[in-house]
């Protein structure tokens, strides 16, 4: 067993040497409009590119679950995020456009989602309304199968993704940790794939790291770990697995101290990214002394 591990130098190590910058190399192989830009761009620890647009932070946050806008504001600032999700709902006289006003003031770009949609048709309409209201073609596409698991419905998701790409949207689909579905979503033109670590709001972390690694290995678009993160080490792990960014909401907004957890997540994403690109040591079965032997 020891040998076997030594033969496979840490999984991620080799891959990094082959294509510095994770997705960069693959992009260059199959340039497709928006893709070309990324290959030209030097890899940055902080920013990444999705659908031809530069995103200043690898931590993408959600706004759901925060007790009020004041707590949300402090958490957003501590996270250093530059892209944040919002949901589309009927306007109500009390809340008005409060969260939008906040994001505008903080100069954080909005990423509307299609949360609550169960069918491709619902998701497409919601995305169209979001584009109209928020003047962005970005959409976090969510089509969930049921309320109990909130797991993506792959059939409806792929259908909606295809329709929205055709309609000119920059589609970021929330998907299962399924390498085949991720490939299909990329093939229909999604600008990123966003596999879950575990179901939304569970805080169970990354249940199948190997699948995430396989998705990263195959993807020519950025992979964003979306959903399931509970604490900082899991955000770092997502980055170590090669994700371009992490999207999380509940882990911060429902933490006892959202501002402090947002800061922890920021550090974790930075640390995980740095570790990924530092080239970790291979795993070994037996010990290896790090001090010189005694004569």
């Amino acid at each position: 067993m020891g040998e076997k591990l030594a033969e496979r130098p840490g999984g991620t190590g080799e891959k990094l040497a082959e294509r510095p910058g994770g997705t960069g190399g693959k992009r260059a192989e199959r340039p497709r409009g928006r893709g070309e830009k990324l290959a030209e761009r030097p890899m940055s620890a902080e920013s990444w590119v999705v659908g031809g647009r530069e995103i200043g932070s690898r931590l993408v946050t959600g706004t759901g679950g925060a007790a009020n806008l004041e707590i949300l504001e402090r958490a957003l600032l501590a996270s250093g995020t530059t892209l944040t999700t919002v949901a589309m709902r009927r306007i109500d006289a009390v809340t008005g456009t409060g969260v939008l006003d906040l994001l505008r003031r903080l100069e954080i770009e909005v990423l509307p989602n299609t949360a609550g949609c169960r069918t491709a048709a619902e998701a497409v309409l919601t995305a169209q309304l979001a584009r109209e209201a928020l003047e962005t073609d970005l959409v976090k596409l969510e089509v969930v199968a049921d309320e109990r698991t909130l797991l993506p419905d792959p059939i409806e998701l792929l259908d909606a993704a295809e329709q929205l790409v055709d309609a000119g949207f920059t589609v970021l689909p929330y998907t299962n940790d399924d390498p085949v579905l991720a490939r299909r979503l990329e093939a229909v033109g999604c600008a990123a794939v966003m596999p879950l670590g575990s179901p939304i709001g569970t805080g169970l972390g990354i249940r199948n790291p190997h699948n995430i690694e396989m998705i990263v290995a195959e993807a020519g678009v950025p992979v964003v770990l979306d959903a399931g993160i509970g604490t900082a080490s899991e955000a770092a792990q997502a980055m170590e697995l090669g994700c371009s960014a992490v999207l999380l909401a509940t882990a911060v907004t429902r933490a006892a101290d959202p501002e402090r957890m947002a800061h922890a997540m920021r550090l974790a994403v930075e640390a995980g990214y740095a570790a990924r690109h530092a080239g970790r040591i291979p795993k070994r079965y037996w010990a290896q002394a790090s001090s010189p032997e005694i004569d």
Binding site: M88, R89, R90, V99, L129, E132
Partner: protein, 66 residues
């Protein structure tokens, strides 16, 4: 003319447009989108799109989520 806006009944003038429906609920000019009978009405068309008796109007905005 009777229409439904975000689930509530509203009585509007006979020739009411989407813009009138928005005014009726005090919706802000920015950050909202409108669907009439399940189809998006573009902002540029709000003032010239007439509603019909019994139309279902949905006015959405961004809220905390995701």
């Amino acid at each position: 003319m009777n229409v439904e806006i975000n689930g509530a009944a509203h009585a509007l003038e006979p020739d009411a447009t989407v813009a009138d429906a928005l005014a009726a609920i005090g919706a802000p000019p920015r950050g909202v989108a409108v669907a009439v009978d399940g189809a998006v009405v573009r902002r540029a068309d709000w003032a010239r799109t007439r509603l019909h008796e019994g139309a279902t109007v949905e006015v959405l905005t961004a809220v905390q989520g995701g």
